[in-house]
C-alpha cells in the first residue's frame, strides 16, 4: 500500500540533510528575503506555530533498546563479533567523513549500551571510495568476498555505486538511507529507507502542487550524467501534477549562471529549482538568483547548498532557500527523537559538529536499524537470507526518519522502502524551520 499524502505533522528546526548524488539532489523553494514572509505558499499551507506540535511526534524513536531489540548494557566482548560492511565516499575532493564518524559512534553505542547483537559485539568493516568509480569495484570485492560481513551499509556514496553492485549482484543485502539512483530500488537485495531520486523529485512535485500551488517551475541544472537523468525524473513527476517545467542545462564548469537562469525564466516562474548539489554550482546559482532579484520561492533538494562549504563561498551564509529533506532535522533539539540522538551520540563521543551533520545522523540511524535487523534475523547466526527477510519486513518508524516504511509499496521500485519527504526553510544562521508535513511523492 502506498503511503498516503500529508499524514505527518512534524514541526522541527534545523538541518535535515539529504545526501543524494552530486547533482540529482537539489530541489528548492524560496529565496532568503521572502522565506520569512508569512504570505509564502509554504507557510500558508502548513500554518500555525511549527513548534506547537513538536512534542507530539508519535513516531519519534527514543528508546534504542526497544528499537533494536537489544538488551540494556554492554556486549560480551569475549564473543565473536558480528560484522557489517560500511561503504562510504571520503578521501577525495567531495567526501563525507562524518557519515563514517556517525556509523562508528552508533556501533560503539550498540556495543556499550544495547548489548551488541544478541550479546555479540558489533563490528564495522569499512571501505572507502575517494572519487573513482573503479573504487566501488574494489570495495565490492573486499566486502562481498568477506564471509564475515553479513550485510553492507551505504553511507553517503556518489561514485562507485554501480561497480559495487556489479560485484555484489544481489548476494549480500545492501542497506541504504538515501539511494542515488532509481536503479538501486529495482536491484536485488537493496533496501532504501529514506528515499531515492524518484521519491525526492516526486516529493518536490507534491510540494509544488499541493503547497506552492505552482503552475510553472523553472529549473537550471548542470549537464552532467546525473543531473541530466535527474531532470528527466523531475519532469515526469511534475507532469503527473500538470505543472509546466522550463529547464536549462549548463556546462558543469560554468562559473556564471545568470544567463542560464534568465533563459530558464526564473523571473516569471512560480517556483525555482536549482538542480545543483555541488558547492561551486550552488554558489553560482545563488549568486545568479540574487543578482536577478528573483522573488519566486527557491527550493533545493538535499543539503549540499546548505553546507558550510557553500556558506563559505557565499560569505558565511548559505542561501536562504527552502530545502526538501528525507529525514528528521537534527538541528531541532526540541524534538524527542533528536534529543535522544544527541544524548546517545554524545555519550559515545560524537562531537557537536558531527552531531549536526546529516551524514552522521543518517549513518547513526542506519546502523541502529541494521542492529535491529540482525537481532531479528538471528543475531550471530543471522545469514544473508534471514537479514534480507528482516530488511524487507521492516516497518516504521525508523530512527530519525519517517514513520511509514514499507518495502514493495512501489511496484517498479521494490527496494524503495521509505519515500516520504518534507520541506524546511533556511531562515539564516543555519536555522531551519519546517514548512510542511511529510509528503508522499507524486507520480511514483
Amino acid at each position: 500500500m502506498k503511503p498516503t499524502s500529508s499524514q505527518r505533522l512534524v514541526r522541527s528546526r534545523g538541518l535535515g540533510r539529504l545526501p543524494l548524488p552530486v547533482s540529482v539532489l537539489a530541489v528548492a523553494l524560496t529565496l532568503a528575503g521572502c522565506a520569512s514572509d508569512s504570505d509564502t505558499p509554504g507557510k500558508e499551507a502548513t500554518g500555525g506555530d511549527p513548534a506547537a506540535t513538536a512534542s507530539a511526534d508519535p513516531w519519534a524513536v527514543t528508546d534504542y533498546v526497544d528499537y533494536t531489540g537489544g538488551t540494556d548494557g554492554a556486549a560480551d566482548e569475549s564473543l565473536e563479533p558480528v560484522t557489517i560492511g560500511w561503504l562510504n565516499q571520503q578521501g577525495g575532493p567531495l567526501g563525507f567523513p562524518w557519515a563514517t564518524a556517525g556509523a562508528k559512534a552508533a556501533v560503539k553505542y550498540v556495543n556499550e549500551h544495547l548489548g551488541g547483537v544478541d550479546g555479540h559485539p558489533l563490528a564495522l568493516s569499512t571501505c572507502f571510495i575517494a572519487d573513482a568509480e573503479a573504487e566501488g569495484n574494489a570495495c565490492g570485492l573486499e566486502l562481498v568476498n568477506d564471509d564475515d560481513v553479513k550485510t553492507v551499509l551505504y553511507g553517503t556514496v556518489m561514485a562507485g555505486n554501480q561497480s559495487f553492485q556489479a560485484v555484489n549482484k544481489g548476494k549480500k543485502p545492501l542497506l541504504m538511507s538515501n539511494s542515488i539512483s532509481p536503479i538501486d530500488a529495482a536491484a536485488d537485495n537493496v533496501y532504501t529507507y529514506n528515499g531515492n531520486p524518484g521519491s525526492i523529485f516526486g516529493g518536490l512535485a507534491s510540494y509544488a502542487s499541493e503547497v506552492v500551488k505552482a503552475k510553472s517551475v523553472s529549473v537550471i541544472y548542470p549537464q552532467d550524467a546525473q543531473s541530466t537523468a535527474g531532470v528527466g525524473i523531475l519532469k515526469a513527476a511534475l507532469d503527473s501534477v500538470d505543472i509546466d517545467m522550463k529547464a536549462v542545462g549548463f556546462d558543469p564548469s560554468t562559473t556564471n549562471l545568470t544567463g542560464a537562469a534568465v533563459a530558464a525564466g526564473v523571473q516569471d516562474a512560480d517556483l525555482v529549482i536549482p538542480l545543483v548539489s555541488f558547492p561551486p554550482a550552488c554558489i553560482a546559482a545563488a549568486k545568479a538568483l540574487e543578482s536577478l532579484s528573483v522573488t519566486a520561492p527557491v527550493v533545493a533538494t538535499g543539503s549540499f547548498c546548505f553546507t558550510d562549504a557553500t556558506a563559505q563561498g557565499l560569505g558565511g551564509e548559505a542561501p536562504l532557500w527552502h530545502q526538501l529533506a528525507t529525514q528528521t532535522n537534527v538541528a531541532d533539539h526540541s524534538l524527542p527523537d533528536v534529543q535522544a540522538y544527541l544524548d546517545a551520540s554524545a555519550d559515545v563521543g560524537l562531537g557537536a559538529e558531527g552531531q549536526g551533520s546529516s551524514d552522521a545522523s543518517l549513518a547513526w540511524g542506519l546502523v541502529l536499524t541494521a542492529a535491529r535487523l540482525l537481532n531479528e534475523a538471528g543475531g550471530a547466526e543471522a545469514d544473508e537470507a534471514s537479514i534480507a527477510k528482516a530488511a524487507k519486513a521492516l516497518e516504521g518508524p525508523i530512527v530519525l526518519g519517517s514513520a511509514e516504511i514499507e518495502c514493495g509499496a512501489y511496484a517498479k521500485q521494490p527496494g524503495l522502502c521509505g519515500a516520504q519527504t518534507r520541506v524546511f526553510e533556511h531562515t539564516g544562521g543555519g536555522e531551519f524551520k519546517a514548512l510542511t508535513e511529510w509528503l508522499s511523492p507524486a507520480g511514483l
Binding site: 578521501g91 549537464q223 550524467a225 541530466t228 543578482s291
Partner: protein, 663 residues
C-alpha cells in the same frame, strides 16, 4: 533581438575570464613556446591569494588596495618560481616535455589549493561595484561590464607593449628566431621570465576582480582552459586583441546558447536540450580555426634541437617481458582479490598507454583523446549488450571499430597541424565526447553508469565473475585477468614490433620531419591516419577490457583530468618505449601502485588530492632529471655506455644511430 542583446551582455563576465586565460596562453607561447595548460589555474590561485589577504586567513586582514597590490606581487613571485622550476630547465627539452610540465603545474596548483584551503569554494570580497543596471527588464551587475572593459584595456595595453616597446620587439624576435635573438644580445631566458611574470600578473589582476563575480573554486576555474585555448588558437597564439575578442565571443556564445536551448528548433532529447552542445561547438570552432590557421601557426626558431624524445631500439623484449608476464600470471591467481583486480586494471591501462606510445611516441602527435575513445568503446559494449543483445565477441569488435573510426576522423580533422598543436583539438574533442556522449543518459552512462554483461563464448563465462575463483576462493576470477594478460602481451609485442617494421620507420620519418619524409616518398597524411587508426583501436580495446573488468561503465572514469594525468604519466616514464606504457599502466587509477599507496602509504583523508599532488610534483622532478622520460633516459645512458665501449673495442660494429637518438 532584445533577447540576443540581453544574453550577450549576460555572457560578458564569463567571456572576460576566458579572454584573460587566452591572453595568458598567448603570453606563455610568446615567451617560452609553451602551451600553458595551467593558465586557468593561475587565475584560480590569484583568487585564493586575494581571498586570504582580505579575510585574514593566514595573517591580519588587509584593506582592498594593499591586498590587490600584494596579490599581484605574490603572483609575480609565483611566476618566477614556476619559471625556475618548470620552464627554464626545459627550455631545450621537447615541446611535449614543456606541455607535460604545464600539466604538472596545473595538478600541483589544484591539489595544493585544495589541501590548504579545502575543496569548498570561497567567497572573495567584492572589488568592483555592486550596482546593477536594468537591461531589457533584467537586472545586470555593473561589475560584468567593468570586468569585460578591464580585460579589453589589458589586451590593448599588451598589444601596444609588444608592438611599440623594445621589450615587445625583443620578445617577438626571440619568439621568431631564438638564435638570431641571442646573436643580437637578447636573452631568451630573461624574456621568457618577463613574459611569465606579465602573464601571472595580468591573470592575477583579473582573477582578483572576477573573484567576487563568479566565485573562486579549484574545480571550475582551471577547466576554463579549454575555451581559452580555442580563443588563443583563433589568435594564432600571437594576437592579444584577437584572443581577447575571441574569449569574450565564446563567453557570449555560451550565454546565447542558454537562450537558444529554450527555442523549439534546438536539438532535444526527451524534451530537454541535448547536453554537451557547447563543448561540441567549441570543438568545431577549434577545428575550423585549425583548418583556417593551421598552415600558418607560428613555429618557433629555437636555440637547441627541440626534437621529440628519442626512440631507442627495443631489443631483448622477450627476456625483459617474460618475468613480468610470469609475475602477473602468478599474481592473478594467488594474490588477494583487490590486488588481482588491480593487476588486471594495470594490464588494461597498459593497453591504453600503448596507444599513446604509437601516436605520441612514434608519430609525435600529442593526442589526449585516447581515454575518451576508450570510454566510447566501453559505452558501446554496454549499450550493444543491454539494448541490442549483441555480446561477445561481436559487440567488442563493433565497439573497437567505432572508436577507431572516430579516432581517425579526429586525426583527419587535425591533419593540417603538427605535433604539439594537436593537443588543442584533441583536448576539445575529449571534452566534447565526455559531455556530448558520456553524459547523455541515452547514449552514455546516465545517472550512475551503464551495466556491462560478462563476455561469454560457447556458454563459458570469460568475465571477472567467471566460476573460476582465485586461490582464496573469491572473485574476481583470474580467468579474465589471464585473458587480459594474453591480450596485453600480444598488443605489447605488436606495438614494439611496429617500431621495427616499415610502417614504424615511416612513422619515425614523419615524426622527425614531415617535409623531408614527404620528399623521400612517404605519404605523410596516410601515415598519420594509419597511426591514429592503430592508436584508436588500441584505446577502444582498452575501453572494452575496462568495461568487462568492472562490469560497468561510468562517465567519471573518462574525465579530462584523468586523461591529462595519464598522458603526463606516460610521457615522464617513457612515451617512446613500450615499457613506459607498462609502468604508466600499473600506476594508473585502480592499478597496483595507487592501491599500495592507498592501503599503506597515504592517509585516507583526502587521498586522491594527495595522489594528485604527488603526481604533479613527481612530473616536475622527473622532467628535470629526465626531460625525455625516465626509461628513455635510462635506455639512452645504456646505449651511450655501449657506444663508448664499442669505440674502445674496434672489433665491435659501429654504434647505432637511430632517429632522434643523439649520435
Amino acid at each position: 533581438m532584445q533577447n540576443i542583446l540581453l544574453f550577450s551582455i549576460l555572457g560578458l563576465a564569463s567571456g572576460a575570464i576566458i579572454a584573460t586565460i587566452a591572453i595568458g596562453v598567448v603570453l606563455s607561447w610568446r615567451g617560452s613556446g609553451t602551451i600553458n595548460i595551467a593558465a586557468g589555474a593561475v587565475v584560480m590561485v590569484a583568487g585564493y591569494i586575494f581571498w586570504c589577504l582580505r579575510t585574514g586567513y593566514f595573517a591580519p586582514a588587509l584593506m582592498m588596495v594593499p591586498a590587490v597590490l600584494l596579490t599581484l606581487v605574490l603572483m609575480a613571485l609565483l611566476a618566477v618560481v614556476v619559471e625556475v622550476v618548470a620552464v627554464k630547465p626545459l627550455r631545450t627539452a621537447s615541446p611535449l616535455a614543456r606541455l607535460v610540465a604545464s600539466i604538472g603545474v596545473l595538478l600541483l596548483f589544484q591539489a595544493a589549493v585544495q589541501l590548504v584551503f579545502g575543496t569548498a569554494p570561497v567567497d572573495s570580497p567584492a572589488v568592483l561595484s555592486a550596482e546593477v543596471v536594468e537591461v531589457v527588464g533584467v537586472t545586470v551587475p555593473i561589475a560584468h561590464f567593468i570586468l569585460a572593459g578591464v580585460v579589453v584595456v589589458l589586451a590593448l595595453a599588451l598589444s601596444m607593449l609588444y608592438r611599440f616597446t623594445r621589450f615587445g620587439l625583443a620578445t617577438r624576435a626571440a619568439s621568431e628566431n631564438e638564435r638570431s635573438a641571442i646573436l643580437a644580445g637578447l636573452s631568451p631566458d630573461s624574456l621568457s621570465l618577463a613574459n611569465s611574470v606579465i602573464a601571472y600578473v595580468v591573470a592575477g589582476l583579473v582573477g582578483v576582480l572576477a573573484a567576487s563575480v563568479v566565485g573562486v573554486s579549484a574545480s571550475t576555474l582551471p577547466l576554463l582552459i579549454v575555451p581559452a585555448l580555442a580563443a588563443a588558437l583563433l589568435a594564432n597564439f600571437t594576437s592579444f586583441g584577437i584572443a581577447c575578442a575571441a574569449g569574450l565571443a565564446i563567453g557570449i556564445g555560451e550565454s546565447l546558447l542558454f537562450y537558444a536551448s529554450t527555442q523549439s528548433w534546438f536539438p532535444t532529447q526527451d524534451g530537454f536540450a541535448l547536453p554537451g552542445m557547447q563543448q561540441v561547438a567549441e570543438f568545431f570552432l577549434i577545428v575550423i580555426a585549425l583548418w583556417w590557421r593551421g598552415s600558418s601557426l607560428p613555429q618557433r626558431g629555437e636555440t637547441a634541437g627541440r626534437s621529440l624524445p628519442p626512440v631507442p631500439r627495443q631489443e631483448r623484449l622477450v627476456r625483459r617481458a617474460a618475468p613480468v608476464v610470469l609475475a602477473c600470471a602468478v599474481a592473478l591467481v594467488v594474490l588477494p582479490s583487490d590486488f588481482r583486480q588491480a593487476v588486471t586494471t594495470g594490464l588494461v591501462a597498459t593497453v591504453l598507454c600503448l596507444s599513446f606510445v604509437v601516436i605520441m611516441g612514434y608519430v609525435g602527435q600529442l593526442s589526449v583523446v585516447q581515454l575518451a575513445l576508450a570510454g566510447l568503446g566501453a559505452f558501446t559494449v554496454s549499450r550493444l549488450g543491454t539494448e541490442f543483445g549483441i555480446g561477445f565477441p561481436l559487440g567488442p569488435i563493433i565497439a573497437i571499430a567505432l572508436a577507431t573510426v572516430l579516432g581517425v576522423a579526429i586525426g583527419a580533422a587535425a591533419l593540417r597541424v603538427r605535433g604539439i598543436t594537436l593537443v588543442v583539438v584533441t583536448l576539445a574533442a575529449a571534452i566534447a565526447i565526455e559531455q556530448f556522449v558520456f553524459a547523455n543518459a541515452r547514449w552514455g552512462g546516465g545517472q550512475t553508469g551503464a551495466p556491462v554483461e560478462s563476455p561469454t563464448l560457447f556458454g563459458v563465462n570469460l568475465g571477472a565473475d567467471a566460476s573460476f575463483p582465485g586461490l582464496n576462493g573469491t572473485l574476481p576470477s583470474p580467468l579474465f585477468g589471464l585473458l587480459a594478460l594474453v591480450g596485453t602481451v600480444v598488443l605489447y609485442a605488436f606495438v614494439a614490433n611496429l617500431r621495427r617494421g616499415d610502417l614504424g620507420r615511416r612513422m619515425l620519418a614523419v615524426r622527425s620531419n614531415e617535409r623531408a619524409a614527404a620528399a623521400v616518398g612517404v605519404n605523410v597524411r596516410a601515415v598519420k591516419i594509419v597511426a591514429f587508426g592503430i592508436a584508436s583501436a588500441l584505446a577502444g580495446t582498452a575501453g572494452v577490457m575496462y568495461a568487462y573488468n568492472y562490469s560497468t561503465v561510468s562517465a567519471g572514469s573518462y574525465g579530462i583530468a584523468i586523461a591529462l594525468t595519464l598522458v603526463a604519466s606516460v610521457y615522464v616514464l617513457g612515451v617512446t618505449l613500450v615499457q613506459g606504457a607498462v609502468l604508466a599502466g600499473f600506476g594508473a587509477i585502480g592499478a597496483v601502485v595507487p592501491l599500495i599507496l592507498q592501503k599503506w602509504v597515504l592517509p585516507q583523508d583526502q587521498i586522491s588530492i594527495w595522489v594528485q599532488l604527488i603526481i604533479g610534483v613527481g612530473l616536475l622532478v622527473q622532467l628535470k632529471l629526465f626531460p625525455d622520460g625516465l626509461l628513455v633516459g635510462m635506455e639512452l645512458k645504456k646505449e651511450r655506455r655501449a657506444e663508448h665501449k664499442a669505440q674502445s673495442e674496434p672489433s665491435v660494429v659501429s654504434p647505432r644511430v637511430e632517429e632522434g637518438v643523439p649520435a
